[in-house]
Amino acid sequence: MPPVVEARGLTKRFGDVEALTGLDLVAEPGQVTALLGPNGAGKTTSIALMLGLRRPTAGQALLFGLDPDDRRARSRCGVMLQESGTTGMLTVREIVNLFRAYYPSPLPAARAIALAGLDARADARAGTLSGGERQRLYFALAVCGDPEALFLDEPTVGMDVETRRGVLESIRALSATGKTIVLTTHYLEEADQLAHRIVVIDRGVVIADATPREIKSRIPSKRINFRPETAVGDTTFRGLPVQNLEIADHRVHLLSNEPEVVLQALFERGVVLRDLEVTGADLEEAFLSLTRRA
């Protein structure tokens, strides 16, 4: 059985800008892959190339071993795109039913609407939906064909906390039934909760491709924060496992995975600390440090 997605050396240039450089990605059946990166990193471009919505400048993408434009490949994929719309004049149920007709063996409409948590709005016209509800409608459209693979570009963007939890729950449930999922997100937390594998992209380049556990071990988990009594500079921290070092206003901020090692070394180097705080690092901040380093 061919992999669901097989991307080799995918490269996309828009004019002078190289949006994606040499992406290699193989998504095996049943796997959840998260493309993680800050805005503008090339995640949306990656999805567009995998789905054949854009033509790669170099490299190749295959869907189920077929050209992404092939209807047999498309019929096995459900898609949620960031920059897309749908008519406002049909109801949620009507649009879901329309999309169900595109697929050989779709889910019952009510089931797709329930997965998106839109039961209460099933008979509302799409034009009257709020931003978050609209996003859930797109989710319903992605899943209604009961496809083997789901491509979700920033699925929870614009959703409130409650809605987001519901949709993440649905994604997990779909994954549990063996769906292959490729999603993009700029939240490490989301990728960590959902994915078997995280591909970190920054400025069009893959800078990490590993399990969530491995990714997390690579990024600093603690934030250290103190006021030095003695003069400190960048050289004070030479050779220590620190990241995002900031020395300003008589305070030192840094991130580290091994706070004990850092503090021990600082004491040995004769640094006198006041107001020491060691806290858990914000995951997003830590993740940003990973991309900034690249």
């Binding site: 919505l53 854009r54 033509r55 498309r74 795109l81 920059e83 749908t86 049909l90 459209l141 064909g145």
Partner: protein, 259 residues
Amino acid sequence: MTTPAAAPLLKMLLAQTRSELLIRWRVPAFSVTNLVLPIVFFIFFGLPIAHLRSGDGVSIGAYLLASFGAYAVGNVMVYGFGIGVANERGMKIDRLMRASPLPPFVFMLAKVVTALLFALLALVLLIGFGIVAGGIREPPAVWATIITRLLAGSLPFIALGFAIGYWSGPNAAPAVANLVYLPLSFASGLFVPLSQLPDFVQRLAPYLPSYHYAQLAWSALGAGHESLGESLLWLGGYSALFLTLAVRFYRREERAKFA
């Protein structure tokens, strides 16, 4: 277990057409202008003189119903595709469609089928109104010929609609459609018979697509100015021209959005 690799195209076409019909029906800008406007124009321009006959015995009422019928079908096509396509581009509906298993030609075909059904409805309402309110009498076969010819000959206006839809943005499309289609209809003698229009318009008309299109209907009443073959030749030429433009603008859009 063997599941089919893709959904049947006919099923897709039916579902797509059903949705397009619902959308058109629910947007008053389409349903009212498509179905009501030709009747309103007929009330002003046609009804007062519907009982008259021309020198060679043609019912003026029937002649004007044929004229407004030609106007009505072109209206459905130019506005429906012009504004509809431009709106959908503005709402980025095309992106999601592109990623779905729906083949683009089924998407287009559903629009054409929907427009033809709306055009048929517009003709039936208009002619029905003329018969009931204007007492205009022609053999049913004549009405059937007019309806069939107008629907079958509407390709240049479908192409013109697509060209406008792919050329202009969602805000400009209604204005562009009006600026193109209303003068075209007027100068082709669809509102007021050509013989009553200024001399330069009379000389211009034989070069316009709407003029040759209306001949399809006028000649069914024995009031045409040219042979059917001549009309079809002109309409074929205009179809080719507008299709070329539509494809050109469509490709420009493709390059920008999906290259």
